[in-house]
């Protein structure tokens, strides 16, 4: 072996350590980069020694730059991201429903309903009183208005959830397109280069975002491509190709449904409420909020029906039979809560309130209406209006509390998983500093080797002179 080849060994070592310092520098500079996976330089000895021929060609080379990660943890995180995404949506949306029904300080629906019944009692005590009639008319309007406003607020909540559905579908399509394009780039670049590591990090980040939005599964296929599937097997990303989701007009409602664009197949059954924001949005929009609206409709409809039934058997101040007390606007609407109104004729002339059971102008009919407050007219004769409403409030409170507890739990699991991932893939400055010292030492020693070889050359040259 020649002396000059020793210079090559020194050069290999210096270049390798420089590279290692570069990687360490990259790690240090990315200590705060979200989703960054720390990289490690893997050295390998090269050449061999042949003692018999007195020749040795030992050196060092960099085998690869390794991405430190655990695919199982990454998978768990992606899965958990689905639960966290769904939990966040459910928690936030139910809290917004809760503010609509906020009863803790009084003065809301249950209060105005109570005042409505009491106004009938007041009228019963003084059936000819104009003041009592006016008061009843205005409380009835207030109550109908409160029902309208509750239903409107719930409806506009549904609309804003519908907007979120649109946003989520747009985001999902963006992410799948980007993942497909990253698949292509990663395929083009050799798997061991630093550049591919960055792309892999980026793709993992996108996958997590995608999982937060939609219930999906993924596998890493041949040539490192990431394939993403819906739970029914339809693919969102397949190698370099992405498949879009589309919004379709729903058959009955005002809102959009989500469908697989190419087949037009609707995905309502696949997007579960527990996984992914999209599924949670759909569940809130199409199940949770309508449930509360139905309950309000049930109450408003029952009040309308029962009050009208009694009212129409009574006589008004002029001795006419009572007409409708409550109507809906439009007339044949079944969205009673949204469309409940006081009959326009009564609004114009409270004398048309039929408070009397006979033409004598007594107040018995008004008293009969007031007595509805304790009648079991809800839930097929099982509950009073008030008990029914109390159970709605109770159910809402339990739903919100459960969603919030569940969300806390999912976040805790997520932060444990994130810590686990950080333990494997995160950058530790202390560790990187130690590496820096180690590599600097190696670099310095390699430099020293070069110096020694130089001196050896000098010695050799001086022999020739």
């Amino acid at each position: 072996m020649s002396i000059s080849s020793l210079l090559n060994v020194s050069k290999d070592a210096m270049l390798s350590y420089q590279m290692a310092m570069d990687v360490t520098g990259g790690n240090i500079s990315n200590v705060n980069t979200a989703g960054y996976t720390r990289q490690r330089t893997v050295f390998a000895a090269s050449g061999n020694v042949n003692a018999l021929s007195a020749s040795a060609q030992l050196s060092v080379r960099i085998e690869k730059i390794e991405r430190q990660f655990d695919s199982h943890t990454e998978m768990q995180i992606a899965e958990q991201a689905q639960r966290v995404g769904a939990g966040d949506v459910k928690n936030e949306m139910l809290q917004r429903v809760e503010t609509v029904f906020d009863e803790t300080n009084g003065g809301k629906l249950s209060d105005v309903i109570s005042r409505f019944w009491n106004s009938w009692d007041d009228l019963a005590n003084n059936p000819s009183g104009q003041v009592e009639r006016d008061a009843l008319s205005s409380v009835a309007q207030e109550m109908a208005g409160m029902f309208n406003s509750y239903a409107d607020q719930l409806y506009s909540l549904q609309q804003s959830v519908n907007d979120s559905v649109k946003g989520a579908v747009a985001d999902i399509n963006d992410y799948t397109t980007e993942i497909a394009s990253l698949n292509r780039q990663i395929g083009q670049i050799s798997g061991t280069s630093g550049e591919a590591n960055r792309l892999l990090d980026e793709r993992t980040g996108l996958l997590k975002k995608l999982c937060g939005l939609i219930n999906c599964q993924y596998i890493e296929g041949a040539n490192g491509a990431l394939n993403v599937y819906l739970t029914n097997g339809q693919s969102l990303v397949e190698g370099e190709i992405s498949h879009e989701l589309a919004l379709m007009k729903s058959h009955d409602g005002d809102f959009q449904e989500v469908a697989y664009k190419e087949s037009g197949e609707r995905l309502n059954g696949i997007l579960t409420a527990e996984k992914g924001e999209l599924g949670a949005y759909l569940d809130i929009r199409d199940r949770a909020i309508p449930e509360y609206r139905d309950k309000l409709d049930d109450m408003a409809g029952t009040i309308r029906q029962e009050v009208n039934k009694i009212h129409r058997q009574g006589f008004d101040a002029k001795g006419n039979l009572g007409g409708m007390f409550f109507t809906t606007d439009p007339e044949n609407s079944t969205s009673y809560a949204r469309d409940l109104t006081l009959n326009k004729e009564i609004l114009a002339d409270p004398g048309k309130i039929a408070a009397a059971a006979s033409v004598a102008g007594d107040g018995e009919q008004a008293a009969a209406v007031a007595a509805l407050k304790d009648k079991l007219i809800m839930s097929d004769g099982q509950a009073t209006i008030s008990v029914f409403y109390a159970s709605v409030i109770g159910q809402l409170g339990r739903d919100v509390a459960a969603a919030s507890r569940d969300n806390d739990y999912q976040h805790n699991v997520m932060s444990q998983l994130t810590n686990q991932r950080e333990g494997i893939s995160g950058v530790s400055i202390d560790e990187e500093m130690m590496n820096l010292i180690k590599y600097q030492m190696g670099y310095n020693t390699a430099g020293k080797l070069c110096q020694v070889v130089d001196e050896m050359m000098d010695t050799l040259m001086s022999l020739v002179q």
Partner: protein, 398 residues
């Protein structure tokens, strides 16, 4: 805990803990500021639901108390009016007793007659007392003066259609009223159409209870109301819900009705609070004495100087006082019932307030302790966060 503790782990953990404690701290502060442990429905779902029910009960109680207050003055007025009426009757009886005796003369009876006339007029005005525009003694027809100044024969008003009727034709009555009580007949059109197609039903108690629906075409003939009365309709178009009213009065002074006025004092608990003029002053009352008739008879007996007739009225006046006393005691017992109900309601209201407070009010002492504890935790958290990167290998490198 993994083996490698990386920098972001340290930061994330510190920040996460800080948020958790800050949230707990602000929850406690919220409760302390509002003095309520229930600030959102989800803070206590069962409590919130019970709160709705309790508040409703409280509001019901307020309504019942209001009902009692509304009837308070009515009852007091009724009682004092009846008491004065009783006194007047006692005075009349005194006069009758003294003038029935042989010592009374024609002239003393004449002057007594004018006294009785005064008593008669005073009693009439008492029986026609109004409270806030409503007559105390006319049953449920509180807008009608209950007693006429002189006795009337059995009679009936002309039938009238209600103001909102579609039918514009003529309605006439026929017959003489033979009923013993004042009644209000109501004819209601059930199915509309011409008189040959429309059907109707009849109520004899002002519209509370209805008879069977007629055959179609029955309107073309006389409508038989009962008690000797009929109603006849001219040709025309009827609409369902058209109402025709005819009032009939039995002979005498009374023109109110015998219906009760009642208020609700609780779930399924109603209290009748009026005394009808019929019960207190007419022969349909417990003493079967037509009070005004007795006074009128007494006056005419005095005018005509008929000692036997005068003596005959004495007993009737005794019965009349008895009749009024029964009404007064009925009034008193209603007032007692009201007072008792009011006491019960006050107690119940108190209980409700306590129960509501137990659900929604915060325990301030407990909260204050919690605030202190959370403050300590928060400070510790900040301390740790500030020291998080104090020790690294960097400190030891030159």
């Amino acid at each position: 805990m993994s083996i490698r503790i990386t920098d972001s782990m340290r930061y994330n953990t510190a920040v996460g803990n800080m948020f958790t404690i800050q949230r707990q701290y602000s929850e406690v502060m919220d409760k302390l500021a509002s003095q309520k442990r229930l600030n959102r429905i989800s803070d206590d779902a069962i409590g919130s639901s019970r709160l709705v029910d309790f508040r409703k009960t409280q509001s019901d109680i307020a309504g019942y108390q209001n009902n009692i207050d509304d009837t308070d003055s009515w009852l007091a007025m009724t009682e004092s009016t009846l008491t004065s009426g009783g006194d007047l009757l006692a005075k009349a009886q005194e006069l009758a007793v003294s003038q029935a005796s042989a010592t009374a003369s024609d002239s003393s009876r004449k002057s007594a007659a004018s006294n009785v006339q005064e008593i008669y007029e005073q009693l009439l005005s008492l029986a026609n007392t109004r409270l806030g525009g409503r007559y105390l003694f006319s049953g449920s027809r509180t807008d009608v003066q209950p007693f006429t100044a002189s006795a009337q024969g059995a009679r009936s008003d002309d039938p009238v259609g209600a103001a909102g009727n579609a039918y514009a034709g003529q309605v006439t009555k026929a017959g003489t009223y033979t009923g013993a009580q004042n009644k209000t007949y109501v004819v209601k059109i059930v199915a509309g159409g011409t008189e040959n197609a429309a059907t109707y039903c009849v109520s004899k108690d002002g519209g509370k209870n209805w008879g069977a629906e007629s055959e179609a075409g029955a309107l073309a003939e006389r409508v038989n109301l009962g008690d000797g009365m009929t109603m006849t309709f001219a040709t025309g178009d009827f609409a369902a819900g058209d109402v025709f009213i005819m009032r009939a009065y039995a002979a005498g002074y009374y023109q109110g009705n015998g219906e009760d006025l009642s208020v609700s004092l609780g779930k399924n608990a109603n209290a009748v609070y009026n005394i009808t003029g019929e019960a207190a002053f007419t022969d349909r009352g417990v003493g079967s004495v037509d009070v005004f008739q007795v006074l009128a008879d007494l006056k005419s007996a005095l005018d005509n100087n008929q000692p036997d007739e005068i003596a005959a009225q004495t007993d009737k006046l005794q019965a009349a006082q008895e009749q009024v006393r029964v009404a007064i005691s009925k009034c008193g017992s209603v007032a007692n019932r009201m007072a008792m109900a009011k006491n019960n309601l006050d107690d119940l209201d108190q209980n409700m307030a306590t129960m509501i407070s137990a659900i929604e009010d915060a325990d301030i002492a407990e909260l204050a302790t919690q605030v202190a504890a959370k403050q300590v935790a928060l400070q510790a958290c900040y301390e740790v966060a500030a020291r998080i990167q104090n020790n690294t290998i960097l400190n030891f490198l030159d």
